[in-house]
């Protein structure tokens, strides 16, 4: 018996940008789409960000535009997958709200979690009052009070916190932190024009269109000072200021500076919430915990498990445009897959 598209169910786990984009695409193809989000609203990390690099687009605008019309997508927030069973064809997904769905295809858009910066003990996140993360600073930009920010005259940004760091188990580059740091450095200069802002970087990975211009602007317009060298340790002095040590690798000399605020550019870690699902479905993961696609070039959206697809940062750090593109690609892959069934 030939099933219509509408009679086929696709369950998408994770209501971030990838989930939203894929759900709309699949909905447009006529499938019945269930979008499951753990948090109380759609958007994922995008919902916490204030403005986006490289052009400073407000994240709310992007998210608003994305969620403006969700079509017939059945989306559930504050909902988790409680049980997942592989059937002969498809999957039975039981949700925490009691709903049970027979899914013909499953799309994992579970994204990432922000690296827990307190793991880098030497930076003192959670111990020193004036050390915050990129996400904390985004909160502050959005108007949420962050007392640590205060009225700083000297500000530092530490790139690669929890990225390119084998000691914390993350050997990879998180891709977005360099651009985020430069963006935030400019934004904080807008707020505190007289402040001296330092960026401590290992490499500046300004790979995207418009990123290099942003970097140039940070240098020339905002006078952000770039120091090539990873911060090695942070201490608090008697007055609660931060005493920072790094090597200025370009001059080959140790560098010391006292700061009023230090922003740690926490990178992307794999989302542990996906681990139980991966175990249940016996999905392959990589050594750093991210899900392993069937082929990183030719089948980047496919898993080793029939009917299970990936999109976005669940397979590794991605920028927003990459995530969106993957979501649309996954929708196409799922469509092809369902048509062949």
């Amino acid at each position: 018996m030939e099933l219509t598209n509408q009679q086929r169910n696709v369950v998408i786990i994770g209501g971030g940008p990838a989930g939203i984009e894929a759900s709309k695409a699949l909905d447009a193809l006529g499938y019945t789409v269930f979008l499951i989000e753990r948090e109380n609203r759609l958007g994922g990390h995008l919902g916490r960000w204030d403005r986006l690099f490289p052009y400073g687009t407000p994240a709310d605008d992007v998210l608003g535009q994305m969620t403006a019309s969700m079509g017939r997508v059945k989306w559930f927030t504050s909902t988790e997958v409680t049980q997942l069973n592989k059937l002969e064809r498809g999957y039975n997904v039981i949700l925490s709200n009691g709903l049970s769905v027979l899914a013909d295809a499953l799309l994992l858009t579970t994204g990432f979690t922000l690296f827990n910066a307190s793991k880098k003990e030497e930076y003192g996140y959670g111990i020193y009052d004036k050390v915050i993360t990129n996400a904390d600073l985004e909160d502050w930009f959005s108007g949420i009070p962050v007392p640590a920010v205060g009225n700083p005259r000297r500000i530092g940004f530490v790139h690669c916190v929890g990225s390119r760091d084998e000691k914390v188990g993350n050997r990879y580059c998180s891709k977005v932190c360099c651009a985020t740091a430069v963006k935030q450095a400019c934004e904080i200069k807008q707020q505190f024009p007289d402040a001296v802002v330092y960026c401590f970087y290992m490499d500046l990975r300004m790979f995207g269109r418009g990123y290099e211009d942003m970097y140039l602007e940070a240098q020339k317009k905002y006078g952000v000072i770039f120091v090539r060298g990873r911060v090695s340790e942070v201490s608090e002095d008697k007055d609660g200021h931060l005493f920072v040590k790094a090597e200025d690798t370009l001059s080959g000399k140790p560098l010391r500076v006292t700061l009023d605020l230090l922003v740690l550019m926490a990178g992307m870690s794999h989302n542990r919430a996906v681990d139980p699902i991966a175990r249940t479905l016996a999905l392959s993961t990589m050594e750093d915990g991210f899900l392993k696609p069937k082929d990183s070039l030719t089948a980047a959206q496919a898993s080793y498990c029939t009917g299970v697809f990936y999109a976005g940062a669940c397979t590794g750090p991605k920028t927003l445009p990459e995530t969106m593109a993957e979501a649309r690609a996954a929708a196409t892959n799922i469509h092809e897959y369902l048509q062949e069934q």
Partner: protein, 357 residues
């Protein structure tokens, strides 16, 4: 500073410390510089707390200084240490406690090496047998004496006669805790509290009523650095390291520095004299005197009411009298330079820039 944050990290670096029955290995340099410290340690654990700490007269140096000075290969140290373990086995003990941080670091390193490379351990069994016809088994637990002080900190505070409180102001004494590099920087998981915010001395100081000074260069080496001090051409480097630490702690006006390492104790103490005599500068709460530098055992003993001169505190360069006065410790000034049975040890020459009494 968020204390809760520190507690969260401390909770990740805890180790099991057996309460009793240890084989004790001394520090070769400390026996000479501050012999009272080890004597006090044994007296406290044995006589005050009634614990079983065995000390074998046949045990030797671990060879750590020679090893870290690049004069002997690791196998030499391994064999020496294997012999210590053999002595421990012979005496019927399973727990090993060392007095010296370098020694503790070396023991830890060797045990870890053997664990990763059993073939090396097998070779050492062979070498030990060739050298002195001995067999050994590894200890169940390896501890540093400061771990024991930390472990017994509440027993100590129960018996405290002079807690680390300034009797004139009622304020806690400001204590700089300095951890020897080899205690936790090599293997943070083998320590109490880890390498970044070590808990071992901070916990002791808190239990004894003092407050810990957290100054920017707290992680920094005391300056000993083996080759840095031992090779005279490098000695300025050693001194500069220590100087950097003192400059960093200066604004906090500490009353006392507590260390867990014989080398650190010595260098933080003696370099204060050299800094004073070359630059005229002294540090600490009492102008002109410098900051007394005591080991965790000495501090514990002092708190428990041991006589400072019996403890051998006159062996330290920086005068302890201002500290004793702040703690309210009763002492006889005239006994400071008297040896056993009132023997006159002679009064040292007075330095120009740092007061000694």
């Amino acid at each position: 500073m968020n204390y809760e944050g520190k507690k969260r990290i401390w909770s990740e670096f805890q180790k099991e410390i057996p309460d009793d029955r240890y084989f004790y290995a001394r520090s070769c340099i400390r026996q000479n510089f501050n012999p009272g410290a080890e004597q006090a340690f044994l007296d406290i654990v044995r006589n005050r707390f009634g614990k079983d700490f065995y000390e074998d007269p046949l045990h030797t140096t671990c060879g750590g200084i020679a090893y870290h000075s690049d004069t002997t290969p690791e196998e030499t140290s391994m064999t020496i240490i294997a012999r210590q373990f053999s002595l421990m086995n012979q005496a019927g003990y399973r727990n090993f406690v060392v007095s010296c941080v370098t020694s503790f670091g070396l023991h830890t390193e060797i045990l870890q090496t053997w664990e990763e490379h059993p073939e090396i351990e097998a070779k050492i069994h062979e070498l030990l047998w060739k050298a002195c016809k001995r067999e050994f088994t590894k200890p169940d637990f390896l501890m540093h004496s400061s771990d024991m002080m930390y472990h017994y900190r509440f027993l100590i505070s129960e018996q405290a006669r002079y807690p680390l409180i300034n009797v004139h102001t009622g304020e806690p004494l400001k204590v700089v805790e300095h951890i020897g590099c080899h205690y936790s920087k090599i293997f943070p998981s083998k320590s109490v509290g880890g390498a970044e915010y070590p808990r071992v001395l901070a916990g002791l100081v808190e239990a004894l009523g003092g407050s810990v000074v957290d100054y920017p260069e707290r992680r920094h080496c005391c300056g000993f650095g083996f080759r840095q001090y031992l090779v005279k051409a490098n000695r300025g480097y050693s001194l500069t390291n220590t100087y950097k630490k003192f400059e960093s702690m200066e604004p906090f006006h500490p009353d006392l520095i507590i260390t867990n390492c014989p080398g650190c104790n010595y260098f933080l103490d003696r370099w204060q004299y050299v800094i004073a005599e070359t630059s005229g500068k002294t540090y600490g709460d009492t102008p002109g005197y410098g900051i007394p530098v005591l080991s965790s055992e000495e501090v514990s003993a002092l708190v428990m009411g041991y006589d400072p001169w019996d403890l051998g505190l006159q062996m330290h360069q920086v005068a302890v009298e201002p500290l004793l006065d702040k703690m309210g410790v009763q002492y006889d000034k005239s006994r400071k330079y008297k040896g056993v049975g009132g023997k006159d040890l002679g009064i040292p020459a007075s330095p120009a820039n740092i007061r000694i009494f």
